[in-house]
């Protein structure tokens, strides 16, 4: 109780930052811009991104660098919040670092599989600095076996070792993704259960399991709609966690057609607000997560839950901005882009 009260200032700080996030009107204004430079200039005047864009010349900045800057800005914000009241000493609060670590490992495996040597180029500097893994050293790996050898002593070794190998000596990337993500969420949920109890634990579990459900729902829909996977094949690729129960998820996976899937989705908590004319399943599902995270940030009394939800909202915000930047760059119709925004 005392501990939770002591960190309430972090929740208050987060709520203040939450009020400074971009609104639908801001997105609409950005959609009306004609070039990436104009979008960059607009962002440099927003409260949350002005510091990150201070030294950037909007007229010369590269689109990729802009996106990297947005991600870095969010990561720095997360670090600042964790350090504000010394929360970074607790293992749970390194959830974003761990997430980025997993993403980079998957990038590396992908590069090894494709034989391209571009891992270092795309490796964000802030992940290099904060990760427990020596990612720059790992970039020297020339094969998956090299990678396994370098990972000795790391907790990732076990899931990486269990990944299905292909006949040409490579790895099954989908299986690797499943194993790494499962490992990440397993570890995260373990930390939640070990460190927290009562309402905080319940809220965090709800957030994490909902996030997993949404990943599974989107994946399953894509596999059914675009690759015609059978229910058994779909189930084999899903993360083994759920908030709404195995039975409800199985019922969704076992639908015969994508349309049927949507119908069954409407029976779950994630599909309650689905419109009759669904544009993109990704946007619709992320919207349900967005609402949950917003509600948590606004109403929750639990600092870990508020921080977790806020971090997710920041990621959604950056994804929205990236959609806009790409759309503006390639001259996509604003009305089309608007459908992709989670807001």
């Amino acid at each position: 109780m005392g501990e939770s009260l002591a960190v309430n200032a972090t929740a208050a700080k987060i709520r203040t930052l939450f009020g400074k996030m971009l609104t639908a009107d801001n997105y609409r204004e950005m959609l009306s811009k004609h070039s990436v430079a104009e979008v960059a200039e607009y962002l440099s005047e927003t409260p949350l991104f002005s510091a990150a864009f201070k030294d950037v010349d909007p007229n010369t900045v590269h689109r990729g660098f802009l996106e990297a800057l947005l991600n870095k800005s969010n990561f720095d914000l997360y670090l600042r919040l964790c350090r504000f009241q010394g929360l970074d000493k607790e293992t749970f609060y390194s959830f974003l670092i761990q997430k980025r670590e997993c993403e980079q490992l998957l990038n590396l495996v992908n590069e090894l599989n494709s034989g391209l040597d571009r891992f270092v180029e795309t490796l964000p500097g802030y992940v290099i600095r904060h990760s427990d893994l020596d990612l720059l050293k790992l970039s020297k790996a020339e094969s998956y076996d090299d990678l396994l050898a370098m990972m000795k002593g790391s907790p990732y070794l076990k899931p990486l070792k269990s990944v299905r190998r292909t006949e040409d000596g490579g790895v099954d990337y989908t299986d690797c993704e499943l194993k790494i993500r499962t490992f990440y969420y397993n570890r995260l949920i373990g930390q939640v259960r070990k460190k927290f109890s009562g309402k905080t634990k319940d809220e965090l579990e709800k957030l994490i399991y909902s996030e997993i459900d949404v990943i599974n729902i989107i994946n399953a829909y894509r596999l059914k709609a675009y690759f015609g996977y059978t229910p058994a094949q779909i189930k084999a690729t899903q993360l083994p966690f759920t908030r709404i129960g195995r039975r409800a998820m199985d019922r969704y996976y076992e639908a015969d057609t994508p349309e049927d899937m949507i119908q069954r989705l409407k029976e779950t908590v994630y599909g309650q607000k689905l419109s009759s004319d669904i544009g993109y399943i990704e946007t619709e599902m992320n919207l349900s997560i967005y609402r949950l995270m917003r509600h948590t940030v606004a109403c929750s009394a639990s600092v870990p839950a508020v921080l977790y939800a806020f971090t997710r909202l920041c990621s959604i915000e950056v994804e929205n901005i990236i959609h806009i930047i790409e759309g503006v760059r390639y001259g996509v119709e604003p009305s089309m882009l608007e459908k992709l925004l989670v807001v």
Binding site: K54, D55, V56, D57, T60, V61, H62, G64, F65, A68, K72, R118, V120, E121, T122, L123, P124, G125, Y126, I128, L136, S139, K140
Partner: protein, 653 residues
């Protein structure tokens, strides 16, 4: 005091006289234009009605002329147009083109010199980051087998460089919070690959312009000289332009004034409508301007003006002009702040003026300070804001009157005691800390009286509008008035006067029955209005008995709560009497504790502080009481302000 009577006016004229008609309307200064037709429907189109919403031909030349004026440093201002012979949009276009041609050379020289200055200054900024380079640019860039790129690399990417096996090396010169400035060298053969690597790490190349030669220090010197030379060129060009501007300013100002007027008048066409060769312009004027307005159109060729009662056309709402006496006029500002009354509605300015002045006097009663507020009001009214000054001078007088009753002059609470003693008035002055209960109870009494008056006004308005729910059964109607008045009388008689009036018939007749009326106001009003019993005003809405009870239970609860809270809210009137006396007591204590020479200073500063701070708080608190406790009982404030068309000269274009 009431609301100014309006008249609906329709002007019909031949289409070629439209601009003259619109000009006259603007000239009148009292014509509020309304759209002649709200939208052209297919049936209206069938009758030949069309809107005149074409493109404004004067818009483009106006912008062009404004740009020319800006480039000549001429600020457009309204001037005499009698000498200007320009007529059509084409004439103005030609005028602008002629001006542009005449200043083209000088403008181009200035633009080119300014661009060069800007480029050189940009290069200076870039070179600042290359101060660590001790080699001549020419020598570096003339290498045959080595490719060189100068630029900035994100700091995040710098650490990654050592993990590449390609043949290149990066020389850093300078770094800031986000970037490292430097140059990389690589063999010409592997230039493409290395460029791609750096590009993927978001290396931003800086093109060192051809004009930057020699070493860094030599380049700096050269750049500075060029900036100086071009600055001189800009000055020469500007002097020539200034000369041209002086010679032509009169013509430009006249053309701009005329063009702006034509452009604005054309904009007004959008509200007019045309049938065949005739145009219709519709709007409202104050009835007292009838004669003057009619006279304006006497010398026109085809215009005829028709006057009608303001409610003739249901598609447009008449605007409201408040009609007040000189005494209450400044307080119209407060009413407008809340919202104007409907045309034909109740003008509450007099009521606000009386209550505001009364409450300010009670809450800020001090003869000396009130006098200063009065003087300040005269000054503000003359030099700054007439309405604000008017309010200040009136409340200042009220403050003086109550200050006399309290015997308070600049915080000296005993100064007037001898006067009252000599006059033999023993119940005065009223001392805040002696008569605390009297002050607080009087404040509540004033609150009750004001709430009752508000209810009476609401009842009168309700009857006038034939709204029986509002007038009879509502919480601010007759039922509400009886309920509130009886409870208030019951409490006062029982607790303060020791008169037992709360008998069973009293409670049943004056409290329970009115409460039932308020509870069932919707069905009762429907019974009177439609001769049938309905649970909802809206016929289509299906309201169940359960739903009706639940909804009205909570509403009733809210009404009762608002009666109590609104009445108690007036305690602040008494509270501020005490607060004012308390604050002045602090000032007096501080003054008596200070050195003899400092005492006047403490007194002056203390009085000034109390006047500013408390004066403002009291002013705001009374506005709050007016808007929440009083206006909410009878006033809607959704009237339309009177905004006559006029040709305003602004430089925004």
């Amino acid at each position: 005091m009431a609301i100014e009577k309006m008249e609906l006016v329709t002007v019909v004229a031949l289409i070629d006289e439209l601009d003259t008609v619109l000009e006259k309307c603007c000239e009148s200064g009292c014509f509020q234009m309304e759209p002649a037709v709200t939208s052209v429907t297919s049936s209206a189109e069938g009758r030949g009605i069309r809107l005149l919403d074409g493109k404004n031909p004067y818009d483009a030349p106006l912008k062009k002329l404004a740009a020319v004026a800006a480039s000549l440093n001429i600020t457009p201002k309204q001037s005499d147009t009698s000498g200007c012979t320009l007529e059509s949009a084409e004439d103005f276009e030609n005028f602008c083109d002629r001006l542009e041609t005449e200043i083209a050379d000088e403008s181009e020289n200035r633009r080119r010199a300014m661009q060069t200055i800007s480029e050189r200054r940009g290069a200076v900024i870039q070179l600042n980051h290359l101060k660590g380079l001790n080699e001549e640019f020419d020598r570096i860039f003339s290498c045959k087998h080595v490719a060189v790129r100068v630029g900035k690399l994100p700091l995040d990417s710098k650490d990654k460089l050592e993990f590449y096996d390609e043949q290149f090396f990066f020389v850093p010169f300078d770094s800031d919070r986000s970037f490292c400035w430097g140059m990389y060298f690589c063999p010409v053969e592997s230039k493409e690959i290395v460029d791609e690597i750096f590009s993927s790490m978001y290396f931003e190349r800086i093109m060192i312009p051809d004009f930057v030669t020699g070493s860094v220090s030599e380049a700096f010197e050269k750049l500075e000289n060029e900036i100086k030379e071009n600055t001189a060129a800009v000055e020469r060009a500007e002097a020539d332009l200034e000369k041209f501007a002086k010679e032509n300013e009169k013509d430009i100002q006249a053309a701009y004034t005329l063009l702006k007027k034509k452009c604005d008048i054309f904009e007004l066409r959008k509200k007019a409508a045309a049938i065949k060769d005739k145009v219709y312009v519709k709007g409202f004027i104050p009835a007292k301007e009838h004669g003057r307005f009619e006279k304006l159109f006497e010398d026109t060729r085809s215009a005829s003006v028709m006057f009608m009662p303001p409610d003739t056309d249901k598609s447009c709402t008449p605007p409201t002009i408040l009609k007040n006496s000189w005494l209450t006029r400044p307080f119209a500002m407060l009413v407008e702040m809340y919202g104007l009354p409907d045309y034909g509605g109740f003008n509450p300015t007099t009521f606000v003026a009386l209550t505001y002045t009364l409450m300010f006097g009670i809450m800020f009663g001090d003869l000396g300070q009130g006098f200063l507020v009065f003087l300040l009001g005269l000054f503000v009214g003359k030099k700054m804001n007439k309405a604000m000054g008017g309010i200040m001078s009136r409340v200042g007088i009220s403050s003086m009157i109550f200050g006399t009753l309290y015997g308070s002059v600049f915080g000296f609470e005993d100064l007037l005691d001898p006067v009252y003693e000599n006059l033999g008035i023993d119940f005065l002055p009223i001392k805040a800390f002696r008569d605390t209960n009297f002050i607080l109870l009087t404040a509540v009494g004033i609150g009750i009286a004001l709430i009752v008056i508000s209810m009476l006004i609401n009842i009168a308005i309700g009857f006038k509008e034939h709204d029986y729910e509002r007038a009879v059964f509502g919480n601010n109607g007759i039922a509400g008035l009886i309920f509130y008045g009886s409870v208030a009388a019951g409490v006062i008689c029982t607790m303060m006067l020791d008169i037992k009036i709360m008998s069973a018939p009293f409670i049943i007749l004056l409290i329970v029955i009115p409460a039932i009326c308020i509870f069932c106001r919707v069905p009762f009003a429907a019974a009177v209005k439609y001769k049938e019993l309905r649970l909802s005003e809206d016929e289509g809405e299906k309201m169940t008995v359960g739903g009706f009870i639940v909804e009205n239970f909570f509403e009733m609860f809210e009404y009762v709560l608002s009666y109590v809270s609104n009445t108690m809210s007036f305690l602040r009137v008494g509270g501020f009497v005490l607060s004012h006396a308390g604050m002045m007591l602090v000032v007096m204590t501080l003054s008596s504790g200070a050195a003899a020479l400092a005492q006047p200073l403490v007194l002056i500063l203390g009085n000034a502080f109390v006047m500013v701070m408390e004066g403002m708080i009291v002013a705001i608190q009374i506005i709050r009481l007016e808007f929440y406790e009083i206006f909410s009982r009878f006033y809607q404030g959704d009237g339309k302000p009177f905004e006559p068309v006029k040709l305003e000269f602004s430089q925004e274009q």
